[in-house]
């Protein structure tokens, strides 16, 4: 094996590498698991302009502008991000694409880190785009390049659908040199690039024709891998990682022919029909929706798929074997499930929790104690839903909390109720898609409506790894440009805007409780930064077991260093703090009713980071 050009890469790194090699110039993204590292990896290539945008719509628009200007462009986002970007996408797709345009959609079968499990192949079809599906890092790199070529050749945007597993898995990748691919400047061709009727009429035909052209061309076939087995009467059709998971169990099944699709839309209809005709059975193995299965059925190919394989979650080798067994395709010795079907032992779950010193901790401790109704939003503060806080009651999608509270207030008013409501939203989410909900509040609320908005300005987009957002600058230096959230909210016509230091627990608690009691709209900006990305290094705290009355108020703040433990000479369990984890934020000490938590004399800071 020639190893000089081989590197170990994750799927995310490989996409960035493919974009670089293909001469890509502008990459735009909004952070979200599983695709965050695509942009972060692209930033390592000085030839590429790679920046995060305020949200996915702006990222997609940035890539559109770059493509208009004749350079190869990439927009990467989490699957749900494509929903945010869908408006420009659905219209941009009508235009004859110039610079190669690839939209990378990070899908999440099994929802490892997402609020839903949407299969964006369906969205791509809706947008008249081709869809490529890589199965490992090498393919992630190769397909990114192919996507850009196809995009230019057929003048269409192309989706690369990549799943969480592929994003985070590694394999050896063969690299090659970069080739530049810059075209002429934007042509000022209004009928082609200004999408108002009647310019849009013939575009409907153009979109149809380009897909037909691609599906009848070898380009739709060459990415497929077909292995035909003599005498086999079954053809398996699969794609992406599912193919490799299938390969793991191949030796346990009867001889079958196998087709691995590289491009899942559009499919080469004539070629596939000819192939399927040779087989008695066609079986599709794919994760999430029956996308390929339905496409085959639309062509008139009789096939099965979701009858045997789950429509949700990942399809691991074991799941594939189980489906094949049901379909009667396993070899005789594997036809019955091995008898030692293990009953999974219960091991206590380990959900994520707020870091030591997290600025969100006192906020949810206060909300929990106030028992108020809370509409939450998406960020680290989503964890306020988990025990022991359980201090929030709804969560839908980024920025949704303000609209949802507005609707609830209206409904309650009409129904003759006046329950006070709290909306919680972070700085990143506020910039992403929360601002319209805030602007919408003026002239919407009645004086008796009681809404308290807690704006958690922690200076970063923490949950996705601490990317900068418009509020970060003020934490870095005086000169750094930033958006001042309290000023911004005031400029939106909201009068009661207060800035609080939530590490002054009592004061914050009083202000929050008063706002909840008072009708009208209050915006309380919590100003402490994220403790993971702006480290707190204060002297650690310690519990005095002689003073501690074992009330567990501190324990309920869920700070990782805290736990009840046995002390010599103490009858009851008393609270304790692991000094190697405490960052000295003082919240536990402030909630203690008897002052049992103190900084020991000459107490040291924790120098770990």
């Amino acid at each position: 094996m020639d190893k000089r050009n081989q590197q170990i890469m994750t799927g995310n790194q490989a996409v960035a590498r493919g974009f670089y090699e293909a001469g890509g110039l502008v990459a735009a993204s909004y952070p979200g698991s599983p695709t965050v590292e695509i942009l972060e990896s692209a930033q390592q290539y000085p030839e590429v302009d790679a920046q995060f945008s305020t949200n996915e719509k702006v990222a997609l628009e940035t890539a559109i502008g770059a493509s208009f200007a004749g350079v190869r462009a990439l927009a990467s986002m989490k699957h749900v991000g494509v929903n945010i970007a869908a408006d420009p996408l659905m219209t941009f797709t009508q235009t004859p694409v110039r610079g190669g345009f690839v939209l990378v959609s990070g899908d999440d079968p099994g929802m490892h880190s997402s609020q839903n499990e949407q299969d964006n192949r369906n969205l791509a079809k809706f947008a008249n785009m081709a869809v490529l599906v890589p199965g490992d890092s090498q393919e992630a790199k190769d397909y990114t390049k192919t996507a850009l070529e196809i995009s230019e050749k057929y003048a269409m945007p192309v989706m690369l659908q990549i799943t969480s597993r592929i994003c985070h898995s590694r394999c050896l990748v063969e690299t090659s040199e970069r080739e530049e691919a810059i075209q002429d400047e934007f042509p000022r061709n209004v009928p082609s690039y200004a999408m108002i009727p009647p310019n849009t009429f013939d575009k409907q035909y153009a979109m149809k024709e380009r897909l037909e052209k691609l599906s009848s061309h070898n380009d739709a076939i060459r990415m497929n891998a077909l292995k035909e087995e003599d005498g086999a009467d079954t053809l398996i059709v699969t794609t992406g990682l599912t193919y490799y998971n299938f390969k793991e169990v191949e030796e346990k099944i009867k001889p079958v022919s196998i087709l691995k699709l590289g491009m899942v839309y559009p499919l080469p209809e004539q070629w596939l029909k000819g192939l399927a005709d040779k087989y008695k059975n066609v079986l599709v193995i794919e994760e999430m929706t029956p996308f390929i299965e339905n496409e085959l059925k639309l062509m008139g190919i009789t096939c099965k798929g979701k009858e045997y394989f789950s429509f949700t979650g990942e399809l691991q080798s074991e799941d594939i074997l189980e489906g094949l067994r049901e379909a009667g395709l396993t070899k005789e010795e594997f036809a019955v499930r091995s008898s030692d079907d293990k009953t999974e032992k219960h091991v206590t779950p380990r959900p994520p929790l707020f870091c030591p010193g997290c600025p969100h901790r006192p906020v949810f401790d206060i909300l929990k104690k106030s028992k108020v109704m809370v509409n939450n939003d998406i960020g680290c503060y989503s964890m306020g839903l988990f025990p022991p806080f359980e201090a929030a009651h709804s969560l839908i999608s980024m920025g949704a909390t303000l609209g949802i509270s507005t609707g609830m207030l209206k409904a309650n008013r009409k129904a003759g109720r006046n329950t006070p409501l709290v909306s919680v939203i972070g700085d990143g989410t506020f910039f992403h898609s929360g601002m319209p909900g805030m602007v919408n509040l003026i002239n919407t609320l009645h004086p008796e409506d009681n809404l308290t908005i807690l704006l958690l300005d922690n200076g970063t987009t923490a949950m996705t790894g601490g990317q900068k957002n418009a509020s970060t600058g003020k934490r870095l230096s005086e000169e750094e440009k930033h958006v001042d959230i309290p000023q911004l909210v005031k400029a939106m016509g909201i009068e009661d805007v207060q800035v609080l230091d939530q590490f002054r627990y009592k004061e914050t608690s009083e202000v929050v409780k008063k706002a909840i009691k008072t009708p009208g709209l209050s915006v309380l900006v919590m100003s402490r930064p994220c403790a993971l990305h702006f480290k707190i290094k204060e002297p650690v705290f310690q519990v005095d077991p002689d003073v501690c009355i074992a009330c567990r108020t501190c324990i309920r703040t869920n700070c990782p260093p805290l736990r009840m433990k046995e002390y010599e000479g103490q009858e009851k369990l008393k609270s304790s703090i692991d000094p190697s984890m405490c960052v000295g934020c003082s919240i536990c000490a402030q909630v203690c009713p008897v002052d049992a938590i103190k900084r020991p004399e000459g107490g040291k800071r924790n120098e770990n980071d």
């Binding site: 597993r165 985070h168 390969k247 793991e248 380990r350 959900p351 994520p352 025990p387 869920n558």
Partner: protein, 196 residues
Amino acid sequence: MKTINVMIAGIGGQGLVMTTEFICQAAFLEGYDIKSNDVIGLAQRGGRVWGSVRIGEKIQSPNIPEGEGDLLLGIEPMEALRWQESMKSEAKMVLNRHLVYPTNVQQEQEAYPQDEIQHMLESFDSLELDALMEARKCGNEKAANTLMVGCVSHFLPISEESWMEAIRRTYPEKVREVNEKAWKKGRDLAKEAEFI
């Protein structure tokens, strides 16, 4: 060569992703095919995290089939316990004695599964050590995972030279030396404990 399957289990913030990369690099330098995976789940804030590395002639899927694990690195003991069923009966495991309590245990709703962990240690060929403390002695407790990799390195057909080069490729300059030291320390500790 038969494929070797390595599982790594721990919690967010323990540097697991670097460790899977490190093992991949060493195996690659030795001339093997590799595939690996990291599963981080809903952000990394102290939640469960696991990684897998598969080393062999030709690897198809990065996922280790059920019951096929050869080596288990338990950076946190309870997290290792979760994977017990995924290991072969002759699998080897190294466990870091440093316990981190999940919310349920902190809130006194469930006990930390001390007995089950003990039982697992007894039923497998295993080594238990305080990797954090040992790594601290080498200069930085962040090298604990590398130290644990050193412990299991006896069971991987990879030369010391490749391991050392893999450290240079994976870790930033300023922590290279401490990782080299920790890896060697782990290798020696395993030998001393007759865990080879």
